[in-house]
């Protein structure tokens, strides 16, 4: 079975003098049904990786394949189509429409699939009950807690049954208790079959997940599932960056020289 997501020697450079190498020769394979944490210090390229996987950004070199489809062959419009059907996003800042109900917010996840409104609302209600908000369909975001808002956003990401759910710092705006709840929710959704990639600063949250990928300076420095990075995988992940390290903003240039 081919991986649902595959990155082959992906690099991403942002223009500048010198150019910023946000991703440096990253290779990664994710199978359907996996739940992966991507960890790394600030500026290590996690969000850049997320955008490249989520097809919001194109790599400078290398190949990205989703369900075996080479993304470089797709136009901008083709990528949008792929996102509408196969990728669900969860963001740190929720990105909910303040004036719309939870139900309408979740239903928006299906608008660009051309699903008719009646069916959309029905599917949205189901997705909301999957994230434990079946009783708050008509609530508007300003009247919800951070955890509830993020669960609405998660429902929106899964409502179209995507191949991959990408969550960039989904707990970044939440307290630790709520963060744990959100991660548990991710685990439950993963048990139900979703393939999920979560970026998190929180070492402890990441430790609870089945697979962890550690990044530094745009490169993958540890992957608990990858035997090809044996030298790093042999060591405990704590050696790559402790939870204390993570909170500090690492000097990327300095890191490179070290």
């Amino acid at each position: 079975m081919s991986p649902v997501l595959e990155l082959v020697a992906v690099s991403k450079e942002y223009p500048g003098t010198p150019p910023i190498r946000a991703l440096d020769d990253v290779s990664l394979a994710v199978d359907a049904g996996e739940l992966i944490a991507i960890v790394g210090p600030s500026g290590s390229g996690k969000s850049t990786l997320m955008n490249v996987i989520g097809t919001l950004d194109r790599p400078s070199s290398g190949q990205v394949l989703i369900e075996g489809n080479r993304l470089s062959t797709l136009t901008d419009t083709g990528l949008a189509g792929l996102r509408s059907a196969r990728i669900g996003f969860v963001f740190q800042q929720f990105h909910l429409m303040e004036g719309s109900s939870a139900l309408d917010n979740v239903a928006t996840g299906l608008v660009y699939k051309g699903v008719r409104r009646q069916l959309r609302l029905q599917m949205a209600a189901e997705a909301l009950s999957r994230v434990g908000l079946g009783h708050r369909l008509d609530q508007k975001p300003p009247k919800m807690s951070g955890g509830e808002r993020q669960r609405v956003a998660i429902a929106r990401a899964i409502v179209g049954d995507p191949a991959i759910v990408l969550a960039d710092e989904p707990t970044g705006n939440l307290d630790s208790h709520t963060s744990t709840e959100i991660i548990s929710l991710m685990q439950r959704l993963n048990d139900e079959g979703s393939t999920i990639i979560v970026i998190t600063h929180d070492r402890d949250l990441a430790d609870g997940l089945p697979r962890q990928v550690a990044m530094r300076d745009g490169a993958i420095v540890a992957d608990t599932a990858d035997v090809s990075i044996e030298t790093v995988a042999a060591r405990p992940l704590v050696g790559v960056g402790s939870s204390n390290d993570m909170t500090k903003r690492t000097n990327r240039e300095g890191g490179k020289q070290a």
């Binding site: 989520g54 419009t77 800042q93 429409m97 719309s100 608008v111 409104r117």
Partner: protein, 408 residues
């Protein structure tokens, strides 16, 4: 690895993944931003509303005034014709042949006709006044009153009997100038030194202002008391409304078979119709001003939309992440801009109609709001809004999705 170019697992662009949005959802998306910012929406729409309102009001008011004139013309009829002698080659006004009134009456579709003969004399209130008061003395026939469908404010018009007596009927302006507003004191006037009793005062004639400035005596009386030779200088006639043009075309030949070119036929109602067209310049000026406020309103919308695009970077990023294409994003903002302007257009049409109604009502006119003008107002607003939305929507569509979802 499956990433290898030759690997059979690698596939190219899968066409089954296509973003698509239902038209109803495109409109819902495009109006969502407006519904969630009602105050701003309303304020932005005002510019367009004023522009459309002034255009609709200008069109409405001029249509109402026109409708009023047309109603007046309908009431007065367009079948009254007037025959006058043309000027001869020396520029002198020729007279009409003496037999011409009878000839005119013989034309089939002529319902009634009456001649007037201008006498070369003047009328005064008494023999001591000699100033030129611009009042014509006309010898005429009793049928004149029916032919012009005239009415009297006082007394009665000449009849068979009084036509040969020294009596006079005054036109409305003539009565005013001579200083009569009733017949209570059995008034008299002097014409060429002869005393004539005033037996009637005419109402104003809307179609024949020259008859208002005249006094009328009978043809027989003109010969008998003034020794005047009565030569027709004009014939008024009513034609069957269905044959006005036919009558008009045969009149010169009938009136003056020897010299048809010296006969001038006119239709007094034409002058009224011409008045319905006069205010074109003012109307164009006001329409231009309305157009300027529309342009200003359109620029205002474009401005607010650009700000909106900047503010809603996150929403745009989210929509791109959910699968919106650049085209979908551009469409959303064009729809938003067009709806905003449409709202202004609808408000403007309502406002313009209200102004028209109020103004026309106060003028005592018929209220006529041109439906085509209302439709055009709404359509102009819609198109203008779509154009104003073009630049902001292109900016929204050009936003890099990765940039747009980045926390600010």
């Amino acid at each position: 690895m499956s990433a290898d170019k030759d690997s059979p697992v690698v596939k190219n662009a899968p066409l089954r993944w296509r973003s698509k949005i239902r038209p109803s959802d495109a409109i819902r998306n495009g109006t969502h931003g407006l519904r969630s910012r009602k105050g701003r929406t309303f304020l932005t729409a005002i510019g367009i509303a004023i522009g459309i309102a002034s255009m609709v009001a200008v069109l409405g008011i001029s249509a109402s005034s026109k409708a009023d004139l047309i109603a007046q013309i309908d009431r007065l009829g367009t079948n009254l014709l007037k025959v006058e002698p043309g000027s001869d080659i020396f520029g002198d006004s020729a007279a009409l042949p003496k037999a011409s009134p009878a000839m005119v009456r013989r034309i089939g579709p002529v319902e009634s006709a009456a001649s007037v003969s201008k006498l070369g004399t003047s009328v005064q209130r008494n023999e001591f006044l000699k100033d030129d008061n611009g009042i014509a003395v006309l010898a005429t026939e009793p049928q004149l009153i029916d032919t012009i469908e005239g009415s009297l404010s006082h007394g009665r018009f000449l009849d068979q009997e009084t036509s040969s007596l020294p009596v006079v009927v005054l036109g409305s302006v003539a009565a005013e100038r001579l200083g009569f507003n009733s017949l209570d004191s059995t008034p008299t006037v002097k014409i060429a030194g002869v005393t004539f009793a005033v037996i009637g005062i005419l109402d104003q004639s809307e179609l024949n202002p020259d008859l208002d400035r005249a006094v009328f005596i009978g043809n027989d009386a003109a010969g008998k008391y003034l020794g005047a030779k009565v030569v027709p200088t004009g014939i008024y006639l009513r034609a069957n409304p269905d044959h006005v043009e036919t009558v008009r075309s045969v009149l010169p030949q009938t009136v003056n078979p020897a010299d048809p070119n010296e006969v001038k036929v006119s239709r007094p109602s034409d002058a009224l119709e011409a008045r319905a067209e006069v205010d074109k310049n003012l109307q164009n000026l006001l329409l231009g001003l309305g157009g300027v406020s529309l342009i200003v309103g359109g620029v205002g919308i474009a401005n607010v939309m650009v700000i909106s695009v900047l503010e809603r970077r996150g929403e745009i990023g989210l929509r791109r992440a959910l699968g919106a294409t650049r085209r979908h994003i551009a469409g959303q903002f064009v729809v938003e801009s067009a709806s905003l302007s449409l709202l202004g257009g609808v408000i403007g049409v309502a406002l313009g109609t209200a102004v028209t109604y109020f103004y026309a009502h106060r003028q005592g006119w018929i209220v006529a709001v041109p439906l085509a003008g209302l439709a055009a107002g709404v359509a102009i607003a819609l198109v203008l809004g779509a154009i104003a939305g073009l630049y902001p929507s292109v900016r929204a569509a050009r936003l890099d999705p990765a940039e747009a979802v980045r926390p600010s």
